[in-house]
């Protein structure tokens, strides 16, 4: 575990979380949440939890993003806050 890489990835994760809850377009928020999951996956691979990183990359960043995008297309795309 290299602490420079750790800190860099943690800062990126916090930026992605703040952007995902502040952007008004719901499709953009969902895609930013996918990027958040991907940075989380890199963080776990760097911490030595390789199996958790695999599962996060396939299940959360893959299937989760697809489910969110499908739900946004079935409902409404604009958000008031």
């Amino acid at each position: 575990m290299i602490w420079q890489l750790d800190l860099f990835l943690l800062v990126f994760v916090v930026i992605c979380a703040l952007a995902a809850i502040n952007v008004k377009d719901l499709l953009s928020a969902v895609i930013i949440l996918g990027a958040y999951s991907f940075f989380m996956c890199l963080l776990w691979a760097e911490m030595g939890a390789v199996d958790v990183a695999f599962t996060e990359a396939t299940v959360s960043a893959g299937v989760g993003t697809v489910l969110f995008v499908a739900a946004v297309f079935k409902t409404v795309r604009r958000s008031k806050d």
């Binding site: 939890a49 958790v52 969110f68 739900a71 008031k80």
Partner: protein, 137 residues
């Protein structure tokens, strides 16, 4: 005080992530934003638990390597490997979190079919006064 904060910097960042998720669940009015906040909250807790398995001093991933030839010459040192127990538990937590997200999205689609909006205040206005349904939707 500053050294105390800097020595455990990753824990403080986990707390910041958890507060971001909690704010999105409580402060945002859109239901999809609340769900995104719930996802952020869950992943921050999973991140905390995985980080408790990390050991300092060159410990690697828990895969057995290079002990096949000698007969018991190299003993397996526990300190050389990370603790795999939090990893396995959090694997289950990730799968459960995607299941809850799927059920929540299905409920969201049903709510949209009934009220034609996903904003919490508009749904509350329609529930309080059903004649507002025409003016809003």
């Amino acid at each position: 005080m500053l050294e105390y904060i800097l020595a455990k910097y990753n824990f403080w960042i986990y707390v910041v992530l958890m507060m971001i998720g909690l704010y999105a669940m409580m402060g945002k009015r859109n239901l999809v934003k609340k769900l995104i906040g719930m996802n952020i909250f869950q992943t921050s807790i999973i991140l905390f638990f995985v980080s408790t398995g990390v050991k300092k001093g060159g410990a690697t991933v828990p895969i057995l390597m290079g002990h096949g030839h000698g007969h018991g010459q190299h003993l397996i040192q526990v300190a050389d490997y990370l603790n795999p127990l939090p990893h396995v538990l959090m694997l289950t937590a990730i799968v459960v979190s995607i299941a809850t997200t799927g059920v929540a999205l299905a409920t969201l689609i049903l709510i949209y079919k009934r009220y034609h909006t996903l904003e919490e205040d508009e749904i509350m206005a329609i529930r309080k006064d059903p004649s507002a349904y025409k003016t809003l939707g």
